[in-house]
Symmetry: C7
Subunit: 94 residues, 7 copies
């Protein structure tokens, strides 16, 4: 099992259709496209400058959207994961 | 539903006429142009270095103006949203 | 009405004669020239790392001088405004 | 009157002979040359991350030396001033 | 014995097969590949801005995954180690 | 008299032989060479983010070694001084 | 005697064989090589943002490993020293 440290999260990425429904390329290419995944494991939280540990807002099983170029790819036990910081997670899909 | 984390905000953008009333390009191009939208969901707030969570100043339904190149475009349930940090929001239109 | 967030200020800019009285270009061009305006609305203040909100030093009606390239131009209700952070304001003209 | 905000200082610059007594250019050009001036007005001080306001160390009338390229030139009421942060002031001449 | 300072960790790296099972190069080369190792020694922890020492989350013997280009190679007593900061460790393998 | 502000120090530099005893250029040119001087005046200290003033570690008359390219040259009363921050001082020679 | 300030350390460097035992150049040249030395003097410690002084973890006589390009070379009393910050020290060799 992968146990991330601090404010890091282990994510199993979800393949996402890159084309829009109408097949048209979006005009504003300056904006980055996000990626989806499922939280496999979450760290114990970030320690603030005052020495307090702040619990993470996501937990195992959460379906999340994150910045596409964030994190580090990790291959473990034959499967691929992405380890990123909670700050790279944009939103939880409920 | 998209539930943003921390100080992030989910916004439904509003199309805005790019030309001025007179159709004249503004002389001072060094200044960036803002964009408008409506807040769909707001995070739980930023955690300061002293470990305190500061509630966000905007909430669902607010009409906001934000920096044009801020945030990440997210396509969810057939609609497009923009997820950005509260700090990228310039003002609430009341 | 535009209600700025945090330490942001909405300003109605004032046109300012760019030439000096004698019409001579100033020799030291390394220094940036400021711009003038009137405060239309001020945010609720900046939140420090210790979670305390610090009230702004300017308020509606103040005549201020600010760094020329600061802020974002916002067109609202047919008029143009500039939204900037209080830190970009150099001084209040009394 | 110009009332600077926070840790900003309004200064009336003093012309300073740029040549050395012997007229020789200083060999170590990597070091920046300072400039002199008189404090016309001082802000209310900087607010620390803990929300405390720290009073400025200079006050009206002080003769100060500051980094040459610091600050913003402001023309007000026919006279030129320089507005800079206290941190750009190197020393008070007593 | 190597006793790391602060939030530093001494690691004995583990050789890791660089090819994927199918031998196919991963399409997204923008993401960095991690490296594995075993913790040989851990520092006394980071001191926060409030002067509190935060104990490290890893300890001797832990099998860890870290960012490939992190740290400094140290040759000691005929063996090679890597000294990095705990923040460069992505996860503990359990 | 020059009274430096905050964590600044006024130094009277000491000429230092640039060649080594043997006249050989040092092989590792990546490292910067320091300079010597005597403390003429020291500021009242740095104010931390918690609003506390930390007294300086050097005082008038101290013989100090500092980073060669640090600080600003000031000509005052016919003599040349260097004003730098205490953080640029490497050590006191006792 | 050289008395370093704050979190600085005076080190007498130790010559270290640059070749590996087998004489083979290490394949991963992206990683920096460390250097060894002995602590001659240590400062009084770093002052945190909360105004607390944190004692250093090394003391006179410690055999340390540090980042090769850290610090400033100081020639004092005919001998060469290196003054660096404690943060540049990777580990103490015990």
């Amino acid at each position: 099992m992968l146990k991330p440290l601090g404010d890091r999260i282990v994510i199993e990425t979800v393949e996402k259709e890159e084309k829009t429904a109408s097949g048209i390329v979006l005009p504003d290419s300056a904006k980055e496209k996000p990626q989806e995944g499922r939280v496999v494991a979450a760290g114990t939280g970030r320690v603030t400058d005052s020495g307090e540990r702040v619990a993470l807002e996501v937990s195992e099983g959460d379906h999340v959207i994150f910045s596409k170029y964030a994190g580090t790819e990790v291959k473990y036990d034959g499967k691929e994961y992405l380890i990123l910081r909670q700050d790279d997670i944009l939103a939880v899909v409920e």
